[in-house]
Amino acid sequence: MSLEVPDGSLTALLGPSGGGKSTLLRVVAGLEVPDSGTIEFDGEDVTGVPVRDRGIGFCFQHYAPFRHLTVRKNVSFGLEVRKRPKAEIRAKVDELLDLVKIDHLADRYPSQLSGGQRQRMALARALAIEPQLLLLDEPFGALDARVRQELRVWLRELHETISVTTVLVTHDQEEAMEVADHLAIINEGRLEQIGHPTDMYDHPANEFVMKFLGPATQLNGEWVRPHDLVIHRNPADGDNAGTVERVTHLGFEVRVDVALEGGGAAWVQLSRGVANELDLASGDPVWISRTGASGRHGKGQPTARVPSRGPGTDGAPLQLLAPDPLAPNTTS
């Protein structure tokens, strides 16, 4: 595969486990050697450069703390290797510990820190050497759901403060959507799609991306988003006839499973208000229509198409092609 990471971006490599995202990240870092191909930083070929000279910062899923060193000595390690003067090291370490909010733990050992604190220490350690590229390998994978949530927000804010080009590997699509401004979907060693997260959500390049990035259901052989479907009691409003099988209340959402007249089943995601208005029960006849990705109501509007390019066919580095989300509304 080939891909290009925009300067200053926070790019997520997203995909199912075993797909090759971590391997790719480690190849970029220089921790693994590719069988063929090149890595370039700002146009400069670094493929033969050993990991210690690439000027990258790397964070591991299990933090890789230097267990026998205090937090402070962990963070200062890279600077000590570069033989920076003591005063400079101390100042930089203090600054970073303060940035990641673990300054009060400076003289503790990693074993005395919580998982979240260890990862923040690892980040401070990586940032200490002022890397040109920050690589995070499933950094929140080993943490509780709530801590993951907090750290995601925190990472996004950190990126906005520091703005080092960052590449994040994750298998959690929610995490990728929330944190990244560019997204590359990798599956079984292939690049499925690359682009802006929301754009890819609305315009997935293929069925895999569609199903991976969000909920999907099939209607007339096409994959659509359940929240892009509307249920009508009136046959005039909807194209597809069916019978309600089950209505499930999931807090603020309601999921309605519908058996379609033409065969097969689809499910529709409704808000509570809409569901209450419709007052559906199992066995009710209903008609389903689709809304477009741009939010327009209508019959037969396709919601899945392939505007963003899939994997490059000639191995050439891929450019970001999705329409600028800030541009005036283009045709969907």
Partner: protein
């Protein structure tokens, strides 16, 4: 435990241990000082005794560092690399543990002795191995070969390579990584390994008996000196030497044993860490610690 059997079992165990291990070891100390400290001291400061002590010390000085460097090297190789034949390397390293020390000695003589494989070559270059110091060093190094590897290897396997990779990403050269990350993380197991190796080298008897030629005052280590003492009915000397070795053994036990004894408690009813396993300080869980605390 059923009350009826408790005391008889306890008595049986203690009696067996007492008569088989504790009393015999204690008796050596008794016999050594039976005729007073003076006699014991005199015995251990005779020229032959001093030479035996010196030779043993010298052998340890050479053999232990060799085995240590080798041990760390092999542990690194086995833990960091996958290659066909790794199991064979592992087996050969463990071999000295399985084999009788006398056999070790014979095998070495068959290679380095007068009529051994390298016998002619060595003689031609004026090198004597068997019946002199190099042979004793080799025999001692061989029997103690596995200890450092067996202590360090599991630790290296357990900690994995993450820390070393992290250090590399931070700019450290391979040597710096080894010195500042790898070595500190195996400090304790390495210390155990070196201690066990030293004890083994100092206490080796069978292999050294075969290769040394048993010339008193020349090629007698402390262990051989003890045997010599018994055979020549110079028992005070034998006991004195035995006391020195026993004290070293006790020191080794104190240093190494403390962390590694067998368990002496059955697990408690509740599921969880058995009482005898030291519970490492649990790390604070994230939920107890506010994420962005500014205090």
């Amino acid at each position: 435990m059923t009350g009826r059997w408790r005391l008889p079992l306890r008595l049986a165990a203690l009696t067996y241990l007492g008569f088989l291990v504790a009393l015999p070891v204690g008796s050596v100390f008794y016999r050594a000082f039976q005729h007073g400290f003076g006699a014991a001291w005199h015995a251990i400061s005779s020229p032959d005794a001093v030479h035996a002590l010196w030779l043993t010390f010298l052998v340890a000085l050479i053999a232990v560092p060799l085995d240590t460097v080798f041990g760390v090297g092999v542990a690194l190789i086995l833990s960091r690399h996958r290659f066909p034949g790794a199991w064979l390397l592992d087996a050969f390293v463990d071999l000295p543990l399985a084999v009788s020390p006398v056999v070790v000695g014979i095998a070495l003589v068959l290679v380095y002795g007068k009529s051994g494989w390298f016998g002619n070559w060595l003689a031609g270059h004026g090198i004597t191995i068997i019946f002199s110091l190099p042979g004793i060093v080799m025999a001692s190094a061989t029997v103690a070969l596995p200890y450092v590897v067996r202590e360090v290897l599991p630790v290296l396997q357990e900690i994995g390579t993450d820390q070393e990779q992290a250090a590399a990403t931070l700019g450290a050269s391979p040597f710096t990584v080894f010195r500042r990350i790898t070595l500190p993380s195996i400090r304790r197991s390495l210390a155990y390994g070196v201690t066990l190796t030293t004890a083994r080298v100092i206490g080796e008897f069978g292999a050294v008996a075969v290769v040394s030629g048993l010339v008193a005052g020349k090629t007698e280590t402390l262990t051989l000196f003890i045997q010599d003492g018994v055979e020549n009915l110079n028992l005070v000397a034998a006991y004195a030497g035995a006391v020195v070795l026993a004290l070293i053994a006790l020191a080794v036990l104190a240093v190494v044993g403390a962390g590694r004894r067998g368990p002496t408690d059955a697990p408690t009813k509740e599921r969880g860490t058995p009482r005898w396993r030291s519970r490492s300080d649990p790390s604070p869980s994230d939920s107890e610690v506010p994420l962005l605390s500014t205090t």
